[in-house]
């Protein structure tokens, strides 16, 4: 490089760096983990919080959204744990459930810590024990490299959970990962979790993000989903509506091995700022990856879904299918990059993003990208943005549906189209019910 750019550190950036310097000694993990943290902190110090000038963050200015750093979240007290517990429906018989509050693993609320087929433990234990393989997987050397927000998560990661599903095990009920933000005082949360699907295992992972209070929260969490050969995993991510004071970066890191079927769906209900970034990499051959989601935004919500799907190996297919309803003066962002390595022949990749803007001041930014270096591939992408179809609206109204009901009917069908990709019927019903109640609230406002 011929020129050096000198950045002036923002207040938040300076605080994050000094907070790291202070916390460094007490964060969990031995030398190897500490080296990872230091490396990540150095990357962050060099790059700072992402701004519009970083291509992958062009539509979400995290630096502007995070002017100051909030105090690091502390482990929750008894009263808070009781309150969070009361907010959860009891786990079903035989269900495995991991509960995090403000990023910290909560033993009392988690269920099925060790069954013969699924093992669950606080990630801090994994970090402290320093098992070489676990740390290697957790550090995702091939995913999200150079992303400053992810680096921040690496530097500060604590709390979280590790869930290991034994090879060949087929779980009847969804494995739950419930992340609760107490939001009872301003706080910053950095947690990372890891789910390992053993070879040939089959299960559904339900990941829910819930906010209890309304205080400002800066949350930066990551989930590493490592799928061994022949595993079949359905991942359903539900970001329940958050208070407007929330700034949330969620990184999903997917290693997809041979003959894997991985289906990840996200329902995003908006609230504050959300950046959801998915980094996926095909590590072998003959795997099928489906990424889909329905995003529902209103008010001044900002939600960014950014995907990087790396077809690093041949004979894999990926499908990306995202629906967005953007109401009020909310902003939606969809960026999807499909990379096909030179030797990754017979790659299939189809990416679609569809948006209905219902708000007068609503905005949607789409940026699909294909970086194809192989020649024998079938890849494509499409993005549409439009209003509700006036002809469909009139048709429904001419049958007696009031405008608001006609809109709700059409919007539910639109969002439901992506939900249809979820195989688990009871989860599909739950998702549709959530969409319906979001739409009803929209119709009343």
């Amino acid at each position: 490089m011929s020129a050096t750019v000198t950045r002036i550190k923002s207040e938040a950036e300076a605080s994050l760096e000094s907070a790291f310097a202070v916390a460094r000694e007490s964060l969990p993990g031995q030398a190897k983990v500490q080296a990872l943290r230091d490396e990540a902190a150095a990357l962050f110090a060099c790059n700072g919080l992402p701004t519009r000038r970083v291509e992958a963050w062009h539509y979400t200015d995290l630096r502007a959204a995070m002017r100051t750093m909030l105090p690091l979240a502390q482990p929750p007290g008894k009263a808070l744990i009781a309150k969070a517990g009361a907010a959860l429906a009891p786990a079903a018989e035989g269900q495995v459930r991991a509960v995090l509050i403000d990023g910290y693993f909560i033993d009392e609320l988690s269920v099925g810590l060790i069954t013969s087929d699924i093992t669950m433990r606080p990630l801090d234990v994994t970090l402290a024990e320093g098992d070489r393989v676990a740390i290697e997987i957790l550090s995702t050397p091939n995913l999200g490299r150079g992303d400053a927000a992810l680096a921040l998560n690496t530097a500060f990661m604590q709390g979280g959970v590790e869930i290991d599903v034994e090879p060949g095990y087929h779980a009847a009920l969804p494995v739950e990962l419930i992340q609760i933000n107490s939001a009872d005082k301003p706080s910053a949360i950095f947690s990372r979790s890891m789910v390992r699907a053993g070879a040939g295992s089959k299960f559904t992972l339900l990941e829910r993000h819930i906010s209890l209070g309304t205080e400002a929260v800066q949350k930066n969490d990551a989930l590493v989903l490592f799928t061994s050969g022949r595993s079949q995993v359905e991942h359903v991510f539900v970001r329940e509506r958050a208070p407007d004071s929330q700034t949330h970066v969620h990184s999903l890191l997917l290693n997809v091995w041979e003959d894997v079927k991985l289906n990840s769906f996200a329902l995003v209900e908006g609230g504050g700022l959300l950046r959801r970034q998915i980094f996926a990499r095909f590590e072998s051959e003959r795997a099928e990856l489906s990424l889909s989601g329905s995003t529902l935004l209103r008010g001044k919500d900002h939600a960014d879904t950014t995907l990087v799907v790396d077809h690093a190996n041949p004979h894999n297919s990926s499908r990306e299918y995202f629906k967005h309803i953007v109401d009020g003066s909310a902003t939606g962002v969809f960026q999807g990059k499909i990379i096909v390595a030179p030797h990754a022949q017979k790659t299939e990749g189809m990416m679609k993003s569809q948006t209905i803007l219902t708000g007068v001041d609503a905005a949607m930014y789409n940026k699909p990208e294909l970086e194809i270096f192989a020649d024998d591939v079938t890849c494509g992408h499409g993005a549409t943005v439009g209003a509700l179809d006036p002809v469909q609206l009139f048709y429904a109204m001419s049958r007696g549906l009031p405008r608001a009901d006609a809109e709700t009917l059409l919007l539910e069908a639109f969002a439901g189209d992506a939900i249809d990709r979820v195989a688990d019927e009871s989860l599909r019903d739950m998702l549709i019910a959530r969409v319906r109640s979001w739409l009803q609230r929209r119709a009343m406002s």
Binding site: P390, V391, F394, A396, G400, L401, E412, A413, F414
Partner: protein, 249 residues
């Protein structure tokens, strides 16, 4: 009773209805025939409340009530039904769901209780059997992938279930095979009487063999230019519209 008085309507700068006057009395079946582009569908849309038209003059009364300021759903609840020339596909909404939403919306508007599921199912089964609509079609998304004829049958099914006071049928016969035409016409005839009026828009005398009109009206360039009895339809079939086109311009 539907009374349309001196109706003028435009889209943007283009005036399509140019002073249309027509009365269809209770229990009457009136047929409208007219060349392509004369404004027949536009008339059906303006009367049923589609947005995007500017009504610059005139009035439309349904059973004595001026409906022009009402949104489409309110007109429907007052008993107006339009069978579309081009029924609209609604992806992701099953026909069953749509029918139930439509019936209950109208009931709610009229202050009636929602239909129970068994009652609803019974009504749908009875009507669909009569119209030869297969049960599996009811589980598919409304009109999506339906053939032209299936879509038209679905319009008549909806009309039967919604039990309107006044029905406008816009070329419901086009795209129907001979058997379907008979079934659909029987569906309409079954609703005749009880004071229900119909406005039947068609290009073909053939439909009028099955649905015998009380009056026939010729529409050209946005107006009714001639009215008469059923014999007028035969005359049009023989001579076409050439006598009327010059007259309207």
């Amino acid at each position: 009773m539907l009374e349309i008085r001196n109706l003028h309507a435009r889209i943007g700068d283009k005036e399509i209805l140019k002073g249309l006057t027509l009365t269809v009395k209770d229990g009457e079946v009136a047929a409208i025939m007219g060349p392509n582009g004369s404004g027949k569908s536009t008339l059906s849309y303006v009367v049923s409340g589609r947005e995007g038209y500017e009504v610059t003059a005139g009035e439309v009364f349904l059973n004595g009530e001026n409906i022009l300021d009402m949104p489409a759903d309110e007109r429907a609840a007052k008993g107006l039904f339009l069978a579309f020339q081009y029924p609209v596909e609604i992806p992701g909404v099953t026909t069953m769901t749509f029918l139930k939403a439509a019936m209950n919306s109208q009931r709610k508007h009229r202050g009636e209780a929602e239909l129970s599921t068994p009652d609803f199912m019974k009504r749908v089964r009875t009507a669909s059997d009569k119209l030869g609509v297969a049960q599996d079609m009811l589980r598919r998304a409304l009109n999506v992938g339906f053939s032209g004829g299936e879509k038209k049958r679905m319009e008549v099914l909806q009309m039967t279930l919604l039990d309107p006071k006044f029905g406008i049928l816009d070329e419901t016969d086009s795209g129907l095979d001979i058997d379907a035409l008979r079934v659909v016409a029987e569906g309409v005839n079954a609703l005749r009487g009880d004071g229900r009026g119909f406005l039947v828009i068609t290009h073909y005398q053939r439909l009028l063999e099955y649905i015998k009109p009380d009056s026939v009206h010729v529409m050209a360039a946005g107006r009714i230019v001639k009215s008469g009895g059923p014999e007028l339809a035969h005359e049009l079939e023989a001579n076409g519209y050439r006598d009327y086109i010059g007259q309207a311009a």
